[in-house]
Symmetry: C2
């Protein structure tokens, strides 16, 4: 890495181990936004915080708990990785708006308003109909704006996303998704959403999860970089970054749980299918955190300047973290 921007990945949910943390350091990744909730309620998510506290103690030579942008600088200086918390669902606040601030105190910095299904706040991208942000959703967005928790609409439906962009007084994020114009998956976003996001100061993190990639596991790095080039044209180079959605070393039971939680007695296959129900194989150019420098080199070869590459690799997320996590 020749540029001075940090590398930041704005979404991972791996089966955490010494190996995964070592690889973060090896890949020169200074900050990772990790998911600490898919379906868990308040108490269950607190348990995940407790597990992270144990990891921070055991693996403190590699990682520590990141709370503010300054922690990214500290990580870069010490060659470690700052771990920032986020939720893929609003279940940790249950039906209690007071828990937004409690969660900020515990370190949560991103909360998706819905995960695939309808939530108390917004609609998920798998619902047939999307009525937009609910009564409680409007209240919660206001409270998230106040305390410094970022609205994340990665798994939300489009109308809800557009309304969240509009209602939020602070820029929001789509931490892990790609343009639907490149690969038309339910989880990818149409240009109308992406331009509204950018115009309001928001950020898109590019997903490297095969279901969000053109040709899935066979997607080439060239094609991925072309997509980023086009997204930069549509959104501006200041509003894009990485959000790999890396689920390293997870057993297939985890993706089954992500999709089904406890909401259904039928089996839902989400982006998979009955014949391919498990995690798809990662593309060969992104198997783990050590591959970020290679992707960054490829972006440079695709015509981005060194400054632009620095923004995409982490500079933009750095600015966004600095602007977003303190009292509004």
């Amino acid at each position: 890495m020749k540029n001075s921007s940090p590398i930041i990945d704005c979404l991972q949910y791996s089966n955490w181990s010494k190996k995964t943390f070592e690889q973060m350091n090896e890949g020169n990744v200074s900050a990772v936004h990790v998911t600490i909730c898919y379906h868990e309620d308040f108490r269950e998510t607190v348990e995940n915080v407790s597990k992270w506290n144990e990891r921070f103690q055991e693996f403190d030579q590699y990682i520590f708990h990141g709370q503010y942008a300054a922690d990214i600088d500290a990580a870069k200086e010490s060659g470690r990785t700052a771990i920032f918390y986020g939720f893929q669902n609003c279940s940790p606040i249950e039906d209690d708006i007071g828990l937004v601030e409690v969660w900020h105190q515990l370190g949560a910095r991103f909360m998706q308003l819905s995960y695939n299904n309808q939530s108390l706040l917004a609609t998920g991208c798998y619902e047939a109909n999307d009525p937009g942000i609910t009564r409680m959703g409007k209240q919660v967005i206001k409270e998230m704006n106040r305390v410094g928790m970022v609205v994340d609409m990665s798994h939300s439906a489009h109308r809800s996303t557009l309304e969240a962009i509009d209602l939020s007084q602070r820029p929001i994020a789509i931490t892990h998704a790609n343009p639907a114009s490149w690969h038309n998956a339910l989880r990818n976003k149409p240009d109308a959403v992406l331009t509204a996001l950018a115009q309001n100061g928001g950020m898109l993190g590019f997903s490297m999860y095969p279901h969000h990639l053109r040709n899935k596991s066979d997607c080439t790095l060239d094609d991925f970089c072309d997509m980023i080039k086009r997204a930069a044209d549509v959104m501006g180079v200041d509003h894009i970054g990485f959000g790999s959605d890396l689920c390293q070393d997870q057993p297939d039971s985890v993706v089954e749980w992500m999709r089904n939680g406890t909401w259904t007695k039928d089996k839902d296959f989400g982006e998979g299918s009955a014949s391919a129900p498990g995690f798809p194989a990662q593309p060969e150019w992104f198997r783990d955190n050590r591959d970020f420098p290679g992707i960054i080199d490829a972006l440079r070869q695709h015509g981005f300047s060194q400054e632009e590459v620095g923004k995409i690799a982490g500079g933009n997320w750095y600015r966004f973290y600095a602007d977003s996590f303190t009292l509004g």
Copy 2:
């Protein structure tokens, strides 16, 4: 009472005391569906079950826990009142479909799919937009049908209600509301909903809560009986009963909690207003359970036959309870 049908009230949420239970017996009310949850989660609702267990022990000369229609016969024979449980919201099942059967085991017989706001299952009547039953809602209706828990759409929005009527394999209920054609309140139901409800074997319980009555607290018993007469013409006399929504002896803090729960930091006045935020005064002809015989006499005077009055007073609910609470 000259007819042999029991008197059944399909919704009350009073500040329970020896007095309220004595009055149930004095009014010859053999069964009451009581609300044991507005906003409570699983554990909090279990606490309410525990409180009812204490009441059943302390006041067993007046009341006991009703689980099946046969308990209404037992209540009538012993001059007591069978207490059936229901939820005004789906919060006691949280996001876990497995809790539907657990709750049936604990005695819950009615569950509203939403209470004023959007829930995980359906839309409430105060939301601006109603997308209908959600993905989880479809699963939960199927499970409620299986175990014998009644779908109640009293506080739900109209599209969600029509879809629930359609999706449910067993008749559903609107336990406490009135026709909007009589008094156009947000909580009252248009004829399209009422006829669909009745055509699918469902039941409407007439509310005596002033915000649901024409002229509110000043509504006359004559006008109330006229409304029932018209509803019988629209829905058929086999699909109507009482669902008084009696909130006797409750402090105004309770209606504030009903409306605001923990979902908002602003204050919501619901059917009230900033200048009249509390519980409205009951109409003089329905202050407590002792007034049911007077209402029944008035219905007889409004041209209903003795058999028809018996159906409205409790015969219909008796049949509905008998058909609804066992395995489907």
